[in-house]
Structures are given as C-alpha cells and as structure tokens.
Amino acid sequence: MTILAKHAAYRHAYDALLAHGVDPLNVKFDAVLSPTEGVLNGQTTILLGTNNYLGLTFDHDCIEKAVEATRSQGTGTTGSRVANGTYGGHAQLEAEIADFYGRKQAMVFSTGYQANLGVLSSLVGRGDHLMLDADSHASIYDGSRLGMAEVIRFRHNNPDDLYKRLRRLEGMPGDRLIVVEGIYSMLGDTAPLKEFAHVKRETGAYLLVDEAHSLGVLGETGRGLAEQAGVEEDVDFIVGTFSKSLGSVGGFCVSDNPDFDLLKIVCRPYMFTASLPPGVIASTIQALRTLRAEPRLRHDLMRNATRLYDGLGAMGFQTGPEANPIVAVTMPNQEMAAVFWKMLLESGLYINLAIPPATPTNASLLRLSVSAAHSVQQIDRALEIFADVGRKLGFLSSDRRRAAGAV
C-alpha cells in the first residue's frame, strides 16, 4: 500500500479497460500530419476527436507568425507577466480579443483551465454565492473550490431550477454569479441562454459564460452562444480558450466591468504562473484574425457537423440533442464503448472514449469532434467505419443496417 492507495477505485476501473486491450489515456501518435490526419501504429488515421474546430493548427500564416515571433523574441517568457513583464504580443492579443467581443477589457491566461480557476476564484469570495450548472467542466468545479464562495449546483440546462435556488437566497447578503457553458464538452448541447439571461435580470445576479467550445463555432461572427442567442448585453463575463478553434493554447476573459483591471492584481492563477510564449501568442493573434476574416470556416464546420450527426442518427446511433461540432454517441455500457472505440481505432478512426465519472448521467460515450478542415470524403469514410464496426458488434438493428449500408 502506498500513499496513492486511496485511488484504488480508479485503478480497478482503468485495469478493466486495459483488460479489453483498450488504453484511451495513452494513445501515442507516430506522427500528426494535418488537422485531420495522424499516423497510429503505422496506419494513417482520421482525427475526429481533437477539438480542432477550424483546423488552424497547420495554417500557413499562423505557423509563419509563430516562427517569426520565436526567432525575434525567443522560445519563452520564463516567468509571469507580474515578474517578467508584458511582451508586446500579450497586450496586442488582449486588445484584439477585446475588440472581437466588443468589450472594454480582456485578460489572457496560460491555459483555459487556469482562466476558469482564476476568474471564478477572484469574482466571488466568502459570503458570495456561485451558481454552477451540474454538468460544468472540471475547470469550473476546480475554480469554485479555489475561492471561498458558497457553491450551489443547479440542474443541467434548467433555468427554472436556477431561479428556484436564487429565490431561496433572497434577503441574504453577497453577490450571485451564475456560470454556464456555450456548448457542453461531452454531449455537445448548448445552454438555453436567453432563459438564463432572463433569470439573471430578474434576480440581479451576474452571468458568466464559458465559450470554450463555442468560440469560432456559434454566432454570426463566431463570438459564441451569447451572440447566437442575442443576449451579449446580459453576459457580464465571457471566458474561453485558444486551444480549440484557435489551434494553440491559452485562455482569456473579456468584460465591460469597470474594475476589471483588479483581476490582474488579485488573480493567483494569473500571477503565479509563466505567461504564454511569444510563438503561441503570435499564432493565436493570427488565428483570431483568420477566424474574423473567413466566415467560410464556420460554414464548412457546420456542414461537416450536420453531415456526421445526421449520418449517425440515420444509422440508429443515439446522439446528443442537437447537431454541433461535438457529436456524442451513447453506448449501452462501458464495455461496449471500450470495444467499439478500439475497433474504430484499428479501422483508422480516432475519436474520444468518454466514460464515467467524466460524463454526465453516468453514460459511456463515443465523443467525436468535427473540424472545418475535414473533407466531405473524410466524414463519409468515418460514417462507413462506424457502420462497419456497428454491424460487426451486432449493434445496428436490421432496419438500421439497411440505412447504414446506404451511407
């Protein structure tokens, strides 16, 4: 027994996966060839689980900007902005991300995870009330524990349940902060943001939306769910990440709050970690410019997402509630999910295996994420592989097999 024996339950669950010849936590690529292709065990494999929504990781301009910045400014900042100073790129990126959202202020973090840790632990403190959707990302839960606010969880995507809980707090002192996500990372469902905004207005709470998976994906100009739902004025703080649609790494928060600059003084996950290196900052600035200049990327993305979602649905697979770049296929149990995932991989299709406790409602999921860079042929090939594995595992009913055969 070692100091880690307390995690024995996780060891058992992991061992059960390994017994199926499945090790989703240690997929080792021989090479990554493009936003949509890698090499695994010598086999060219379609990447359909990497959140590379706009396919910008190999964008020529982004790479050139990163190389240029690295040559001129070095590989890293070797410390935080508080200790080692702000580079021109940090300030430039903050100005451009604020401009993109039409907000007065922006703040850049070293990862999206740290953005949530920093913002949530700084906006609310002892005596305040933090209202979290039950299906919130781990970074939101972890951020809630870093501060001293009272944390109350409401039912997923349920504005009535949130309202009820805020009403119970009537007469109590302290600020209220509601936290929801644009697109939820496991099932790809969106928050009913109009209704949440209504609750916010009625109760005098603040509203924060995490647009990690919806930046560059939803909205007329790609600003996310708040733009799509037409409630940007009701959203006090937007948090997001550069590591998905912008193809790099890092996180941000934007707001019109007049005291926003205080965050840079009180926010520990901002102050006590190294700032992003010049190359990352430069490629992110370029990716944001490309996102703004090329709405075609979002249209390609949604075309692919809809094709994949509709194709899987036609075969009879149980998918999430709406067609989005995240498509989740619910499996009957963990064992079937693991075997299915392994067979997809062996057939040249890489997706994510998502199992409890990382999933809502304890479901075992095959989680796919689509890119604008996927060709229609790649989406169709992925559907063929799904149909083939589904048939081999006796997964599709006879009627559905006919539909699958037609793909």
Binding site: A134, S144, E150, V151, I152, R153, R155, R165, R168, L169, P356, P357, T361, N362
Partner: protein
C-alpha cells in the same frame, strides 16, 4: 452555531421530528435508487447504500426539492451518514449560517 448543532443532535437521537425526517429521507432514497432502503442514523450514504457520485447528486437534489433548500457543495462534502444529512437539513431550514 453550537446550540443549533446540539438541538439537531437531540432531535435525531430519538425525537419524533427526526424519525419523521428519516422516513422522508428514506422515501427520497427509494425514488433515486429504485429499491426500498432501511436507514439508521449511522447509515453511510455512499458505502452502505452503494451510491455513485451521480446517484448522490440526484439524491441531494431530491432532498433539496423536498425541503425547499440548497445544500452548498462544501456542506455536501461533509455529509457521510444519515445523521449528518439530517443535521445539514435542520441547519439550513433554521436559516443558520453553514
């Protein structure tokens, strides 16, 4: 704060009010688990009833609906036994700071 804790303990140690609450809690457990349960004050909610994290969340939300209160997450983390849960509900119902 201490007075209220003592009050709750006295009630759970044999008062009619606590036995009524234990019955109410048992009914909510049964709804979530889909099977009858037998509860005592010492019943450990996770270990004795075989609840997973999702089950605990659904159960806590059932309790919150029934008693019309919200149990903050740090307080949920402290609850291990049925007696702990009844104390938390009593504290929150009485409007006591947690």
């Amino acid at each position: 704060m201490r007075q209220n804790h003592q009050l709750a303990l006295v009630e759970t140690n044999g008062g009619g009010a606590s036995s009524a609450m234990r019955d109410e809690i048992a009914a909510i457990f049964e709804q979530v688990l889909g099977r009858p349960v037998s509860l005592s004050d010492d019943t450990n909610i996770v270990e004795d009833l075989g609840m997973d994290s999702l089950g605990v969340m659904n159960f806590v939300m059932g309790i919150e609906d029934f008693y019309d209160l919200s149990i903050p997450l740090d307080r949920v983390a402290q609850i291990q036994t049925v007696a702990d849960l009844m104390r938390a509900v009593e504290d929150l119902k009485s409007g006591k700071a947690v």
